[in-house]
């Protein structure tokens, strides 16, 4: 079927061969043609030599999730050729390097195979083994550009921007692209029936990954202390923070920095540093992933009980244990919500895309300081490391950051006596004093049992008084956290509910289901504890399909624990194979449940 701006290209290569730049070039050039595009990177936990794939979905509709089909496969890796061929949707195309013959048995009647002698052409045109490998991967950009009718001028401009400092690379890259482009023009019917055409769908949008947006958000929030231990897939959050700070937080005259990034010895130390800095009144944060959360748990419980603000960015990967470090999941939500021993629970924020990573990274500091408690932003590998096309990030300068209830030296002087854990305002949030301000504000911060006045206690009533007051604070959190994104019509009796990176696939699934006359209301939860809006949404429906990316239906359990939701109407659609969610999974899941007799 011929289509315009609805095509999926998947490229299979070997990692460490420069394919990332080639794929980025391809994606960006389509974006520059004004055509919405989605890029997903499926990479191994390895530096060089293993199979890696990049999937570019051209979507005139502007959908945000990965597709559930492959129209064009660029099979550059002989190692994965057979499975790559098998993955092509019927009627699709496969491009391969025809320098070497492929096995006769590897054929499919319903797929058109296009051989391009990429290695031979590059070997004839370039010198040196490394250059030949790199250029071979750039050359396939030319082939795809010819087949999809991507504007070569745009590609040239992009190369000029990328290699502004190394102009000799522009010519060699362009030469390689032309090799592929011209070969395709001469040997195949170009363009293919599925092609790309310029449109006006990317205005005021950017292509950015969530970790970059998160690091940028932390800088805009005024974070000054970042402590971390490197872990995939969160590492690029701190890289981004450091890069932006190096640009904007270094005094041009003295060279002095107004930020402090500390690479800790482990995650236990990273969170300890965050707490020390936050206790001192600085905005501090740590990016991590599941194994890091496990290590941080003791301190997270400390911060909950001693009431210290902390911002933790959890870029979730596939667990349990080491799991699959370069695959995505939402399987840490329960362990983050209730991290640490004893009665503890923590504020979670669920960004859906990089745009929301930017805004939520900022508001995470506001909530942490307002509530004097750890706030964990639950990103994931799909959001964090993939390139998403999102509306321009916006920063509202008129919005005043919330520093919470921090007493000034003057306020302390006016007080008869300062008591750290007294609920003066009835919202469960006490006033805090910072070290180095006024000795009247001094107190001994401790994780051991304490009274409302801050003193040590082993007295049952005095202990219980404080932990009960923490529940009052929990209810305050419920009121002030970001509301869910809800689309509701009273005519629909079934609802679809998700968090975070499930948003794109669910939005698309709703459209597809509507085409089949199945209308679902929608709720995207943005924070834990759950607000009254979420409670009402569940109550309003006979059935709520909960889409989450873990095996054990953790979100569903949290509805039962936190807002006493009726479990009989909560139906789970669980996706946990490590790949980003796609709409087809949601559609099929809903249809299956309907077939089983569930109302919709």
């Amino acid at each position: 079927m011929a289509t315009i701006n609805d095509v999926v290209v998947k490229i299979g290569t070997v990692n460490g061969t420069g394919s990332a730049s080639a794929n980025g070039l391809l994606m960006k050039s389509i974006f520059r043609m004004g055509v919405p595009v989605v890029g997903k990177n499926y990479f191994p936990s390895n530096i060089q030599g293993l199979p890696t794939w990049y999937e570019i979905r051209v979507t005139g509709h502007g959908y945000q999730s990965r597709s559930d089909r492959v129209d064009i496969m660029v099979a550059m890796n002989a190692q994965t050729y057979a499975r790559d061929l098998a993955e092509v949707s019927p009627g699709g195309w496969l491009i391969y390097d025809s320098t070497w013959p492929r096995h006769k048995q590897l054929s499919r009647d319903d797929v058109t195979v296009l051989g391009v002698p990429l290695s031979r052409m590059c070997n004839e045109s370039f010198d040196g083994a490394r250059a030949r490998i790199l250029m071979k991967n750039i050359a396939y950009v030319g082939v795809v550009a010819a087949l999809l009718e991507i504007d070569l001028d745009i590609i040239t401009t992009l190369l000029e921007e990328t290699f502004a400092a190394k102009t000799h690379l522009i010519d060699s890259n362009m030469k390689a692209i032309r090799l592929g482009y011209d070969y395709a023009q001469e040997n195949f019917v170009c363009p293919l029936p599925k092609k790309v055409a310029a449109m006006d769908g990317t205005k005021d949008h950017v292509v950015i990954d969530g970790n970059t947006a998160t690091g940028l958000g932390c800088m805009y929030a005024g974070a000054t202390v970042g402590a971390w231990y490197p872990i995939t897939p969160s590492t690029s959050v701190m890289d981004a923070f450091r890069n932006f700070c190096s640009r904007y937080r270094v005094d041009p005259d003295t060279g002095e920095k107004t930020f402090c990034v500390i690479q800790a010895e482990d995650e236990l130390a990273a969170i300890g540093m965050v707490l020390g800095a936050a206790w001192m009144g600085a905005r501090s944060f740590t990016p991590t992933s599941g194994p890091g959360i496990s290590l941080m748990s003791e301190f997270i419980g400390f911060a909950y009980y001693a009431e210290i603000p902390a911002v933790i960015i959890n870029v979730q990967r596939t667990g349990p244990s080491t799991g699959m470090p370069t695959r995505t999941q939402q399987a840490d939500i329960m362990s983050c919500a209730y991290a640490s021993h004893g009665d503890t629970k923590h504020v979670l924020l669920f960004p859906a895309d990089p745009n929301e990573c930017f805004t939520m990274a900022q508001s995470a500091f506001d909530y942490a300081e307002r509530l004097q408690t750890p706030v964990i932003m639950m990103s994931d590998l799909d959001i964090g490391m993939n390139d998403w096309m999102v509306p321009d990030l916006e920063f509202d300068e008129s919005k005043i950051p919330d520093r919470g209830k921090v007493l000034t030296s003057e306020q302390l002087d006016e007080m008869e006596k300062f008591h750290r854990y007294l609920d003066v305002d009835g919202d469960g949030i006490p006033y805090r004093s910072l070290p180095g301000v006024n000795q009247k504000g001094s107190y001994f911060t401790r994780g051991s049992g304490h009274t409302r006045y801050g003193g040590y206690t082993e007295d049952s009533a005095a202990y219980q008084d404080v932990v009960d007051r923490l529940l009052v604070k929990w209810e305050t959190a419920r009121q002030i956290l970001p509301p869910a994104e809800i689309e509701y019509s009273k005519f629909n009796k079934a609802g679809l509910l998700t968090i975070g990176s499930g948003h794109g696939a669910c939005r698309e699934a709703r459209d597809r289901l509507t085409e089949q006359k199945i209308n679902l209301n929608y709720c995207r939860v943005r924070a834990f504890p759950f607000g009254d809006d979420v409670r009402e949404f569940i109550e309003q429906h006979d059935v709520v399909y909960i889409v989450e990316q873990n095996r054990d239906a953790q979100l569903r359990s949290m509805f039962m624990i936190d807002i006493d939701a009726n479990p009989t109407k909560l139906v789970s659609l669980l996706h946990y194979d490590g790949m980003p969610l796609n709409a087809g999974f949601v559609v099929d899941g809903v249809l299956e449940e309907i077939a089983k007799g569930r109302a919709a």
Binding site: H205, I208, T212, M219, Y220, A221, G222, T224, V225, F244, Y248, D251, T254, E256, K257, T258, F259, C260, I262, A264, E265, D266, L268, A269, G272, M273, V274, L275, G276, A277, A278, W279, M280, G281, A282, R283, S284, E298, F299, D392, L393, E394, F395, E397, R403, S433, L434, P435, G436, N438, Q439, G441, S442, Y443, F444, T445, R446, G447, Y456, T457
Partner: protein, 351 residues
């Protein structure tokens, strides 16, 4: 354990420091440790040290982990904020606090369990960063709160109250700190306050990581015959090699020392620490010879004390990083981002 506030009544004739405060103003709540605990003597030495240094109470931050030693920050300088963190993690919390506010003076109190077992990693990495703090280890060779198990600093052959003598090699914080490159390393004894106070003062004024390892006997679980961390054993095998006098800035060195014997070392704030060599061949500025001397004496069963190593030339954490002089926690948030206009320019790189 209960929490008892001390009455703050001072005798009118009590000496006052430059801030007009008496030593009482540097006390904390009443200690709940066992009567005769070495840690209480260390607390008294800390009170004396900070009183004499004229430190404003709120400009001190008291940091600790978990254990008997880590309770003690409640017992001194109640006008200072304290942070009683989790077991073995005092160094990381202090690192973060110091990163946020370089204007405060940091005193960390830890124990041999807290620093040499569960927190050995954090202890080492604080040294590696040359974190500007005074790090006191109240070292008694046992776990007190869990009733007398050996700690990692227990010597080979040291006897417990019940059971077999220790057979595992001890971890010595002083030689560990020398190996790791700590820039101020001292050891003293809780029973020798005159010796201990100036070592703490020098440690507080030193610009970088300062370790004060204090043999501080546990009267309940490790003060019997056969223990190498008892009062009696420590007194017998205690070997002072270098004593130290702390001299505040602009105060002349009043005491005259014979040439070759006294060695004044100027600290960054202009104060001086004057080393008095008791053992002539000992050189507290050479890591290699200090290490060899300490190990030799250790093998002979001696506890070498004094200001054992000092290096004022190394940069502390903030200087290494090139951070601004203003405490990071005091920077207004709106000075820390380039605004919405610049955001548009940043975004243009992502189109």
């Amino acid at each position: 354990m209960s929490y008892i506030a001390k009455p703050k009544v001072a005798h009118p004739k009590m000496p006052r420091n430059k801030l007009g405060l008496t030593a009482r103003d540097y006390e904390g709540v009443v200690s709940t440790l066992c009567a005769g605990c070495g840690h209480d003597s260390v607390t008294a030495a800390i009170v004396e040290a900070v009183f004499e240094l004229d430190i404003e109470p709120h400009m001190l931050a008291k940091m600790s982990g978990i254990g008997c030693s880590s309770k003690t920050p409640a017992y001194f300088v109640s006008g200072a904020h304290g942070f009683n963190s989790v077991h073995g993690r005092m160094p990381s919390v202090t690192t973060g606090a110091n990163a946020a506010n370089r204007d405060l003076m940091y005193i960390g109190v830890s124990g041999d369990g807290d620093s040499l077992s569960i927190g050995a990693g954090q202890f080492m990495h604080a040294i590696r960063r040359n974190l500007n703090m005074c790090y006191i280890i109240e070292n008694n060779g046992v776990y007190g709160l869990t009733k007398g198990q050996f700690s990692a600093s227990a010597d080979i052959g040291s006897k417990p109250k019940k059971g077999e003598p220790n057979q595992q090699e001890p971890i010595d914080p002083v030689s560990t700190a020398i190996a790791l490159g700590a820039t101020y390393i001292a050891r003293s004894f809780s029973g020798d306050r005159e010796h201990l106070v100036p070592l703490i003062q020098g440690a507080l004024r030193h610009d970088g990581f300062a370790l004060v390892d204090v043999i501080s006997p546990c009267v309940t679980f490790n003060d019997h015959v056969g223990s190498t961390k008892s009062y009696a054993h420590t007194r017998e095998f205690y070997h002072r090699v270098v004593d130290a006098d702390f001299v505040p800035p602009a105060e002349e060195i009043k005491v005259k020392y014979a040439q070759g014997e006294a060695m004044p070392v100027e600290l960054h704030d202009g104060s001086k620490i004057v080393l008095r060599k008791i053992e002539e061949q000992y050189d507290p500025t050479s890591r290699a010879t200090a290490f060899q001397y300490l190990r030799d004496r250790f093998n002979q069963g001696e506890i070498t004390t004094g200001l054992l190593y000092i290096d004022e030339s190394r940069k502390e954490m903030h200087e290494i990083m090139g951070n601004t002089q203003t405490p990071l926690c005091q920077l207004p948030l709106d000075s820390l981002h380039p605004g919405s206009g610049e955001l548009k320019k940043i975004l243009d790189q992502y189109r």
